[in-house]
């Protein structure tokens, strides 16, 4: 039977971060994820690298963690972070008293802010309302959530760790109050496997309760659903926050070619089958327009939703979603329930994923009597390509495509450039929005991919293909053919995957109120439904 030392459950940023932290300390580990990486809250958030400003008034501890992690991630995860900066804006009508508290809070916590005159603020961000009262800069940023998770896993895998996607844990084996291993199911084949280990880490986010229950343990996690709106271009250059008590739709984050407005806060029973009612979209949109009026004219591409897995200890059970602390908790089930080798890491937020991983790995090392320090605040998460490679790349690829590919691939950009040198046709841009070349797709599907793909959506999570205005109508088809050509899947399987992919891409667009994206959605459905007589839209479709 297969053996390892540590099994991590959940392929979000936290699980991926733990896998890498342990790998850097030389501790063998396997990460099991029931779908693909970043399937839960990680892949369904703004991607905001908090400066901590949002929490200074209510939750100074969370704010302190944020600013310290913010500084570290900008250094070690530079490839996955866009250091665009942020701005807090006091909009007319909002409580001036809160602004005072906020400024004092930033000072106390140590968040570097700078007050701007109205003219300065408007010259930096012309799309803000002309009558804003005050504005401050802060060190917010944007995290490419898929790249962050991928980079952590790739780095861990290159050091001997194992990542298994589409592997759903179905049981935790416990003997004499001691963890012996886990049983998991290969989602594609349905076969069950066993994996022996000494320690099991529950990093399943919104699914943490279900995992804990397999060991007979209760973990108080509450799922708090938030909806986010994606617009087809960046109406702001930096992260724009509304300077008031945290509420709905008060953060707008520029994410590469698009920008994301969010979010809402609704308690839900679980992390799956989430939907966004039209009233909620209307409300978010109206609030967003108050903050950035230009959003009224922007093209809304897609709406997505995810559940924040909030840690709600019994003492805080009555609090609303926004009042629950964003602090994380590392629950050692040995001390609380007497199960040796089982722990849960819950709560927290994307910005503090590294700190959560460090705390977890520290506890693992303590239990295994391994005395090695955490390295994740020092070692860059992704290396970069040499100057020679970049110079060569400029002979073949557009500069913007090189910049994006370099962030995604690091030193492996060399492989992409080499393939193009051998066959210049490989420089063809397959996804026009994210400038993904055919050569990069070959790498994603090839044997040297460190984290293999199994679906067309997986390709998007590696390359951002299909995330732009066409929403995969054209590039998704090309990615499907690429998988077929690389013997990744048969023609029948490719067709099946295409249908699932279209359902997923159509779902997020169908929540968009009647607007400019409706034409694109209609085109996609007419082509694949009527013209190609391939796949008609169905009302019920959930990716989970």
């Amino acid at each position: 039977m297969e053996k390892t030392q540590v099994v991590i459950i959940g392929g979000g940023a936290t699980g991926a971060g733990i896998l890498r932290d342990l790998a850097l300390r030389g501790v063998p580990a396997v990460l099991l994820e029931k779908k693909d990486l970043a399937n839960g809250a990680t892949g369904r958030c703004h991607g905001l690298l908090h400066s901590g400003g949002r929490y200074v008034v209510k939750d100074a501890d969370a704010a302190k963690e944020c600013i310290s992690e913010n500084m570290i991630l900008k250094k070690v995860a530079a490839a996955c972070v866009h250091d665009v900066g942020g701005m807090f804006v006091h909009v007319r009508g909002d409580d001036p008293h809160y602004v005072e508290q906020w400024v004092a809070g930033c000072k106390r916590v140590g968040i570097p802010i700078k007050e701007l005159s109205r003219d300065e603020a408007l010259s930096l961000e012309p799309n803000l309302p002309a009558d804003i009262l005050k504005a401050y800069t802060c060190p917010d940023g944007h995290i490419d959530v898929f790249q962050l998770t991928l980079a952590n896993i790739e780095s861990a895998v290159s050091k001997g760790a194992t990542f298994r996607a589409y592997s759903e844990v179905v049981g935790i084996e416990i003997e004499n109050h001691r963890v012996r291993g886990v049983r998991y199911r290969d989602v594609n084949t349905g076969e069950e496997e066993s994996l022996q280990c000494e320690i099991v880490i529950n990093a399943a986010g919104g699914w943490a309760q279900q995992i804990a229950a397999m060991a007979g343990v209760e973990v108080p996690v509450r799922c708090d659903r938030g909806a986010l709106l994606i617009f087809n271009h960046c109406v702001v250059k930096r992260v724009v926050n509304r300077c008031r008590k945290p509420g709905d739709a008060d953060i707008l984050v520029p994410c590469g070619p698009v920008c994301i407005l969010g979010t809402s806060s609704v308690t839900v029973p679980g992390p799956e089958n989430l939907t966004v009612p039209p009233e909620e979209v209307e409300k978010l949109l109206a609030l967003g327009v108050e903050l950035v009026p230009a959003l009224a004219e922007a093209r809304l591409l897609r709406i997505f939703t995810g559940a924040r897995p909030l840690y709600v200890p019994k003492s805080a059970a009555g609090a609303g979603g926004r009042e629950v602390s964003r602090n994380f908790a590392l629950l050692d089930h040995e001390t609380s329930e007497g199960i040796h080798g089982f722990m849960s890491i819950v709560g927290g937020k994307l910005t503090t994923y590294r700190l959560m991983a460090k705390a977890t790995a520290d506890l693992v090392c303590q239990k295994l009597h391994i005395d090695r320090p955490c390295m994740t605040d020092q070692v860059p998460i992704r290396d970069s390509a040499g100057a020679e490679v970049l110079k060569e790349a400029h002979k073949w690829m557009p500069a913007a495509a090189i910049e994006k590919a370099h962030r995604r691939l690091g030193s492996r950009l060399a492989m992409v450039v080499k393939a193009i040198q051998e066959n210049p046709a490989m420089a063809e841009i397959v996804c026009e929005c994210e400038l993904v070349t055919r050569s990069e797709l070959e790498l994603v599907f090839g044997n040297s991919a460190r984290v293999p793909v199994q679906t067309i959506g997986d390709v998007g999570r590696r390359t951002r293909l299909g995330f732009g205005p066409c929403q995969g109508t054209f590039c998704g088809y090309k990615a499907m053919l690429m998988g077929y050509r690389n013997n990744k899947w048969s023609a029948a399987r490719a067709s099946q995957l295409m249908a699932t992919y279209l359902d997923d891409r159509w779902k997020g667009q169908s929540w968009v109120p009647d607007g400019k994206q409706a034409e694109q959605l209609n085109l996609s459905q007419e082509l694949f439904g009527t013209s190609y007589n391939f796949h008609k839209r169905s009302e019920v479709s959930h990716e989970g």
Partner: protein
């Protein structure tokens, strides 16, 4: 540019606008077709499914549908981009997903793709044309034809074409343009296809034959290769749809119509219950065009009439109401403009497979009505 006083102005260059313009053009001396750009039909396979249309669009008798379809078949034939099929016909045409779509009419190069009566078909891909895979299409077509109990076998083959001078990869559209520009390139394709055609009943190729290819050119090409050829519509921009659009445009121009594409209509000029003309968003100075009758074929996403309806949208927000004369009416049934005739997919709810058929039928009717009404007004 001719005068800006027209008998009939058609807005929209989709299938319905083109049909309406061609219908009206036979009678109107001064007709203009104005559009922002090609309609969606040029992006898909441009096939027409008439089956069951009269049943789901009450008020449309088989007679009316038949007349419109017959007109369209004649029109495309005269324009050199003939459609095959008819109201009572059913054919299976292959697609780039390796499926078959059942249709009533299709452009001739696609119509030939029906598997019935074909034993050996070869799907041909072209090296470095990324968005088409012959083996994928062949594998899936085999599965589907087998499921229907047909004996047709499909084989995928990839041939090589000389590199494009402009870039290192090829797209179907660029190949088509190159074939138009350089006869040797077309010859190279013939040379590549000839050995593949040995022993085959049918070659299925991505849409790459020249944009300027009419029925005669395609026939000559087939003769040179020595095998029947079925051309598939690839991902947009795909050649068969664009070719059709070009042919219909030139045909319309030859009939005396003026084509003004690339500029969207800013506003409709209204005077009481009549539309006196439109303002086109031409660069520098907007162009005002006056017309006796206006055919509105601007598609289901058009918001042109919205300014004048003042919230008269129905619950779906889309399906606009027209009366039996195809005139737009408000929620009380009052005609909003007596000389506007609407056509295309805005007329009511129907199955999306009927979209192109609806466009042809309503376009034909709108063209007739606009002409007849125009005559009436002239007499008054």
């Amino acid at each position: 540019m001719r005068g800006d006083e027209l008998d009939i102005l058609v807005i929209g260059e989709g299938l319905s606008g083109l049909t309406a313009a061609a219908t009206a053009c036979e009678h109107a001396s001064r007709l203009m077709l104005a559009s922002k750009g090609p309609g969606t039909f040029a992006l898909g396979t441009a096939c027409v499914d008439v089956d069951g249309l009269d049943a789901c669009a009450p008020g449309l008798g088989a007679n009316e549908v038949g007349k419109a379809i017959a007109f369209f078949v004649e029109l495309t034939s005269a324009a050199g981009c003939a459609y095959e099929g008819g109201m009572r016909e059913r054919r299976l045409v292959p697609t780039i997903m390796g499926t078959f779509a059942e249709v009533s009419l299709a452009p001739r190069p696609l119509w030939k793709g029906d598997p019935r009566g074909v034993n050996k078909a070869v799907v041909v891909g072209i090296e470095n044309v990324f968005a088409f895979d012959a083996n994928f299409v062949a594998e899936q077509l085999s599965v589907h034809s087998k499921n229907m109990g047909l004996p047709t076998s499909y084989r995928g083959v990839v041939v090589k074409l000389p590199q494009s001078q402009h870039q290192d990869w090829l797209t179907p559209l660029e190949i088509a343009i190159e074939i138009d520009r350089n006869p040797l390139y077309g010859q190279a394709l013939i040379t590549a296809l000839k050995p593949v055609a040995q022993g085959a009943d049918l070659l299925i190729i991505p849409g790459v034959l020249g944009l300027n290819f009419g029925d005669d050119e395609i026939r000559r090409f087939e003769d040179a290769v020595g095998c029947a050829i079925c051309e598939l519509a690839t991902l947009p921009p795909s050649v068969p749809g664009l070719r059709l659009l070009r042919r219909l445009e030139s045909h319309l121009a030859a009939m005396g119509g003026e084509i003004c594409t690339g500029f969207s209509v800013q506003t409709l000029c209204m005077n009481g219950d009549r539309c006196t003309g439109v303002v086109l968003d031409t660069p520098g100075k907007p162009r005002t065009v006056h017309a006796d009758s206006v055919i509105l074929a601007s598609g289901k996403f058009s918001r042109l009439l919205e300014d004048h309806t003042a919230g008269e949208k129905d619950a779906s927000g889309r399906t606009r109401r027209v009366n039996g004369e195809l005139q737009p009416v408000n929620s009380e049934g009052v005609v909003m403009a007596t000389n506007i005739f609407e056509c295309g997919s805005i007329l009511g709810k129907f199955e999306s497979r009927h979209g192109n058929a609806m466009a042809i039928v309503s376009g034909y009717q709108a063209g007739m009505l606009a002409y007849q009404r125009g005559v009436q007004y002239a007499r008054q």
